[in-house]
């Protein structure tokens, strides 16, 4: 938990970086989903999307992925 607090409170980004991250977060994590539509193949893209989310979207997404892994 301490690490999480430190990430949220202590990390400072340049405004441009925050703007980029927010844009990517909106594009990757939000918007109308029409399941089964995704490029290449569903399974591959799911994996790629999880990777991108963890990398660029948000701590909350990373925590959610980690929480799900712990439950499995």
């Amino acid at each position: 938990m301490a690490d999480f607090d430190q990430i949220i409170v202590g990390e400072e980004w340049e405004n441009t970086d925050v703007s980029l991250l927010e844009t990517l977060d909106h594009v990757l994590n939000r918007g109308l989903v029409i399941a089964g539509e995704i490029t290449i193949s569903v399974a591959d893209i799911d994996l790629i999307f999880i990777g991108l989310n963890v990398m660029v979207s948000s701590v909350e997404t990373a925590r959610e992925v980690l929480r799900k892994r712990e439950m499995e």
Partner: protein
């Protein structure tokens, strides 16, 4: 030939040719019933940062003229699939566009420092696997109840402050032992964005336990889903 879909909106006839789509593809307007879908002719779209930003740029360009329902990055379908989907969900899509019309999304991030630490139930180590399982469930239940209470408290606080400025709200909380991180999306009329920002400033000044920042206006990404099932139209079992 598959189409890459960016967003759906009402009655848009043309698109700015200066804005290119994913993988540098041209963007065109596909008219389906009363709707306009912004699409590119593309078979394969690498999920790169450049393409994600191109997706965002197309939606942003439409957003400057009218209110779009953004598709999530990576949405591809044949023209027939899109036509079938829209024809089958015409009413729901029309209602969604009406709800979003003239509105923008504001992205509010709040760090809420708890006044007192919320102690979870004690983590006793005695007992067998069954006891440990029940204790784990107890902790999860405690966490769920606490999250619900925090969500209600923060939502109430925001509604007290923002009142009728909010048309809709979507909130997610990530609590830790000392702070709660809240991500709140508000649907706000375009004409009220400045008022919204001022109210948030006042709220943050008056509540020292809250730190936050607002970004926007965004296209209404977080209010786009109409929870429709698309699988039957795409042959995915």
């Amino acid at each position: 030939m598959k189409l890459y879909a960016y967003c759906l909106c009402a009655n848009l006839d043309t698109f700015d040719k200066a804005v290119t789509g994913v993988s540098g593809a041209a963007v065109r307007v596909l008219k389906v019933d009363d709707f306009s879908v912004l699409v590119s002719d593309c078979e394969s779209i690498p999920p790169t940062q450049e393409n994600a930003l191109a997706h965002a740029a197309v939606i942003r360009s439409v957003f400057e003229k009218t209110t779009p329902i953004p598709f999530r990055f990576g949405t591809k379908a044949t023209e027939q699939q899109l036509r079938t989907y829209i024809a089958s969900h015409k009413a729901a899509l029309g209602n969604k566009l009406s709800q979003l019309s003239g509105c923008v999304e504001m992205d509010l991030k709040i760090i809420w420092r708890r006044q007192t630490a919320n102690a979870p139930p004690s983590k006793e180590t005695t007992g067998g696997p069954g006891t440990a399982f029940l204790r784990k469930k107890q902790r999860e239940l405690h966490g769920d109840q606490q999250a619900t209470a925090e969500r209600d408290e923060l939502s109430s606080l925001l509604r007290d402050e923002l009142g009728s400025l909010i048309n809709d709200e979507s909130m997610s909380l990530r609590p830790s032992e000392t702070v709660v991180l809240a991500r709140v999306f508000h649907l706000v009329e375009k004409s009220k964005v400045q008022q919204y920002r001022e109210k948030i400033d006042v709220l943050l000044r008056n509540r020292p336990e809250l730190q936050g920042s607002v970004s926007g206006p965004w296209p209404p990404y977080s209010f786009a889903n109409i929870e429709l099932e698309f699988k039957p139209y795409f042959g995915v079992s």
